[in-house]
Symmetry: C2
DNA sequence: GCTTCTTAGCTAATGGTAGTAGCCAAATGG
DNA sequence: CCATTTGGCTACTACCATTAGCTAAGAAGC
């Protein structure tokens, strides 16, 4: 019998695609093996464990998301860039729910590569925010605010959390408009003591 | 041998507590049974399945969270109420990560009780926002924006998503300040066509 | 108090899961 | 062409959720 010609990256990629289809929680070694056309134990020649498969999907997902965000915001500035960033983020999450679920899982305690990957993703956002007149030290808070809002919206939407589907587009524009407005009118006391 | 005196509610409550300790993903019937002092199959006299245990934990969590939010905002208005709401939300999530993870899972397709429970939680938020001068139809968008931002922040923080722990409190104040500011200065075109 | 009925907890077993051990043939490199 | 490496396999273990069927604890009626 001929070999399947697998490699760690192909297994992870197939896992990512399958996770998007059936949901990360329903991704099993058994199912992935059937999809690839191989018996389950064979997968362990390419990935250490199910957990390491999750990690691989997360790393691939973070890379892909970062590329999508970079592409979407290339050559844009200010509010336009933020809108483009937000739209690309939301679209990517909706199109890749399994990958996204993997990226959201907390990385292992001392996983340097994973940490660095997350950091690089943040840099894209920081670059987008660089155009705004933020006060000292506010960039990190603005980044976290934007990231929280986008992550929250996208994951709630992806999980079907917004009862009625209607007007969700408009809600998203409202959210992004809101944040852009605030970024343009930063005040030095924002985030200060209550 | 004497009976353990269990009931569905006590099993769910123990499951919720255990989920907070070990993480929802590590909650197993085996572990829960040991915790309660009973053999695994006995649990099935009180809960239908692991999935229905998740659902029970989610329902209990939503009720508890709603109560905490109602308590925190009682008698408060405007920005103060929003800050109190946000602080209570964040605190509850940090203190009950397992319960919260359960509440976030999408409810089954036609689970009326679960849907109603989520809706009642939203009403607390709508009440808090009732003080603000929002334009027609903006209340639903503002609700979703606030909910997204809080859910996003809390779940990222709960998952250890903000690299350095320092300044996270300040980031949260920044986020809430930001949203309160915007709520107080709503514009009719917000959320309109790009 | 005694009997009857219901049912909570048990043991035993099933099928599915992740993962390991060890074999063998396919590819690789001299 | 031979030696080595290695990818996929079968067979197995341990653990998971879950079911079947038994037994005794407790409640209900008399």
């Amino acid at each position: 019998m001929p070999r399947a010609g697998l490699a760690p990256a192909t297994v992870v990629a197939a896992g990512a695609a399958l996770a998007d289809e059936v949901g990360l929680a329903h991704l099993t070694m058994n199912l992935l093996a059937r999809r690839i056309g191989v018996r389950p134990p064979s997968l362990y020649k390419h990935v250490e464990s199910l957990q390491s498969l999750y990690r691989g999907i997360a790393l691939q997902g973070k890379r892909e998301l970062r590329e999508a965000l970079t592409r979407a915001t290339a050559g844009q500035t200010g509010g336009t860039a933020v809108h483009a960033f937000a739209a690309a983020y939301r679209r990517w999450v909706l199109e890749h729910p399994g990958r996204y679920a993997a990226t959201v899982r907390a990385p292992a305690a001392h996983d340097e590569e994973d940490r660095r990957s997350s950091e690089e993703g943040l840099r894209v956002l920081l670059d987008v925010l660089a155009d705004f007149p933020l006060h000292d030290g506010h960039a990190i808070h603005a980044t976290r605010t934007l990231r929280s809002a986008l992550h929250g919206f996208a994951s709630l939407e992806s999980a079907g959390g917004f009862g009625l589907a209607e007007d969700v587009d408009r809600s998203f524009r409202f959210l992004v408009d809101t944040l852009v407005t605030v970024l343009q009118t930063d005040r030095p006391d924002r985030g200060g003591p209550a």
